[in-house]
Amino acid sequence: MATTLEKKKTRPAILAPEPKHTKRRKGSWLATGITAFVLFIFLLPLGYMLVTSVKSEQMITQVGGPILPRSPATFEYEGELLDIYTVPMPDGSEMDLAMLQPGRQVSQFIDPSNPEAGPIEWEGNWRGLPPAYELDPQWQNFPRAWDLMEFPLLLRNTLVIAGLGTIGAVASSVLVAYGLARFRVPFGRSIMVVLIATIILPRFVTLVPTYALFVRIGWVDTWLPLIVPHFFANAFNVFLLRQYFLTIPKELDEAATIDGAGPFRTLWSVILPQMKAALVAVSLFHFYFAWNDFFEPMIYLSTRPDLQPISVGLRTFNTLYDSQPNLIQSGALLALIIPVVIFLFAQRIFLQGIDLSGVQK
């Protein structure tokens, strides 16, 4: 308790910028530039996803084709579709012109920006001319991926699993954390140790009997194995909530107790209203867990694609449309856009980080 308070006192002082000396000003653009460069490389795969998701299959298969979703430009002239080439003009400039009449020595072109001017004659071999590209994003990839992966169904499944799981995880973890933070529970210390130890346990060790149990009681091919176990609290949530409980003055519940409130009443009407932020955080963490969870939904819902959440659905989509990277990247974008948008709005909650290393104290 005392340690956390001390830390909070010293931290802002360190976070605050050091007194300005000239060195800092000089260096600031260099440090920022290096960091921006690392960030650019780090996020480059997102760029690949964005660009590929709006390409056509032709643009992708073309070896050494443009990085951006561009296709050879055309121009419609008197009912005919003409290819556009980049043509060097006698005065040294270059113009993008639509080819009207190819010829070995002389070709006729039309200026797409000024077709009324009539055909332009150009001397030289047209085969040497580079085709002009224009930006041509294939937005229809998104509705195609949306339909092919049955996105609305996946979304519904994910939200139901995540929503019910969140209720269970938050409610049970609040109770357990309250018990551990506010009562001298017998073996309280050992309980904390075992609780943390469950994090270290490789999850496959308990999987076989648990799976066998769910087969026996008929829960396989339902959502229950993905929801019910979360109603028994988990180490991360309990630890985070316990830390929050410890920051709320104990005098508050003592006052409530004197007023005749029982421990449950105290929790509900005195403490919980004080820790809405923590509840939001734990709910969000569970939402992200459920959105990400892959292994268990896969083994428990392997024969029920109509019940699978998004991570499993996206992987199935990948095995089916492996040969169409543009659709795969559109699908990936659909799957990540909701978590990313929520993150951008709720950054503060995530940017505190989860650190259980202090638990030994």
Partner: protein, 321 residues
């Protein structure tokens, strides 16, 4: 704060007429009602951890198979003997260890490097950078794997196209039994967000007086980092190491999604967890799967045990509070 005060009272000398004596029993009573609040976890612990652990050990001595439908029979140590002579166990263990040998140092050094960049007092837009460096960590894993799968594609991927610009003929990353490991490590870089955040918090907690003292002694940037920053952040290094280690024991999703769980190329991505999945959930040989799981558990206990034991030599808790 209130906790310490309470403790002082309870542990203080009790006189015969101490009115607080009755409070001790009240505390005990409160403790027992607290047990009711902790009950969900206690029940869950037995239901989802303790009993399955024991059952799993029991399964490892049987030929329990979910598809055959025959009742499980006790077969003694057969599964354990099979495990010791199973070439695929050896191979998958080697694959996992090989990957871990590259991935573990990266899982510490890369977030530490990012944190080092982000705590610099010279950096502008620090908050924005921090958020953007963290962002990939909240991208769903499967989506991240698909993105990197394309990025490292031998023909159309940007990595090889960039290498081609500087005249390097890039490998077919995920189809090459050597280059697949660095490619997998690259995917892992997108998951370092939380490690980075707690490194940042830890680096910010280094007492400014330590830095000042080192500077007055004329220490170089590097030696300040090694002799001041590293010892102070060692508990966080330790924590991140433990978390990364657990991640490697459970490493399944990336190789499964990338190569469809085939273990391609040439068994180079047949991770231990993948082999366990095959035995348990493709062949439904639950007895042997439980043996594999328990062997992993024993190995994990030994390795994490060693790590915790080593901590006393290099992890310094004295700086914390």
């Amino acid at each position: 704060m209130a906790v310490t005060v309470d403790k002082g009272v309870a542990g203080g000398p009790a006189t015969p007429f101490d009115p607080r004596r009755s409070r001790v029993s009240l505390d005990e009573r409160r403790g027992r009602s607290g047990l009711w609040f902790v009950m969900p976890w206690i029940v869950g612990f037995f239901l989802w951890y303790a009993i399955p652990m024991v059952a799993s050990l029991w399964f490892s001595f049987t030929d329990f198979n979910l598809v055959s439908g025959e009742p499980a029979e006790f077969i003694g140590l057969d599964n354990w003997q099979k495990l010791l002579s199973d070439p695929e166990v050896r191979q998958s263990a080697m694959v996992t260890i090989k990957y871990g040998a590259i991935a573990l140092p990266v899982a510490i050094l890369f977030p530490m490097f990012l944190a080092y960049l982000l705590v610099s007092a010279r950096l502008r837009w620090r908050e924005g950078f921090r958020a953007l460096f963290f962002m990939p960590s909240i991208i769903p894993f499967v989506a991240a794997v698909l993105i990197f799968g394309g990025m490292f594609n031998g023909q159309i991927g940007w990595v090889n196209r960039m290498l081609a610009v500087v005249g390097i003929d890039g490998p077919n990353w995920f189809l090459d039994s050597t280059w697949v490991y660095p490619a997998l490590v690259f995917i892992g870089l997108w998951g370092v967000g939380n490690a980075m955040l707690i490194f940042i918090a830890s680096m910010n907690s280094v007492p400014a007086t330590l830095y000042d003292a080192a500077r007055i002694d004329g220490a170089s940037q590097w030696s300040i980092f090694v002799h001041v920053t590293l010892p102070v952040i060692s508990p966080v290094i330790f924590y991140n190491l433990v978390i990364a280690l657990i991640g490697i024991f459970n490493y399944f999703l990336v190789p499964f999604v990338l190569n469809n769980g085939s273990g391609d190329p040439n068994g180079a991505t047949l991770f231990y967890a993948l082999y366990f999945f095959r035995v348990g959930f493709r062949l439904f040989d639950m007895g042997y799967a439980a043996t594999l799981a328990w062997a992993l558990f024993i190995f994990a206990v030994v390795v994490t045990g060693l790590l915790f034991w080593s901590a006393r030599y290099w992890v310094h808790y004295e700086f914390e509070g």
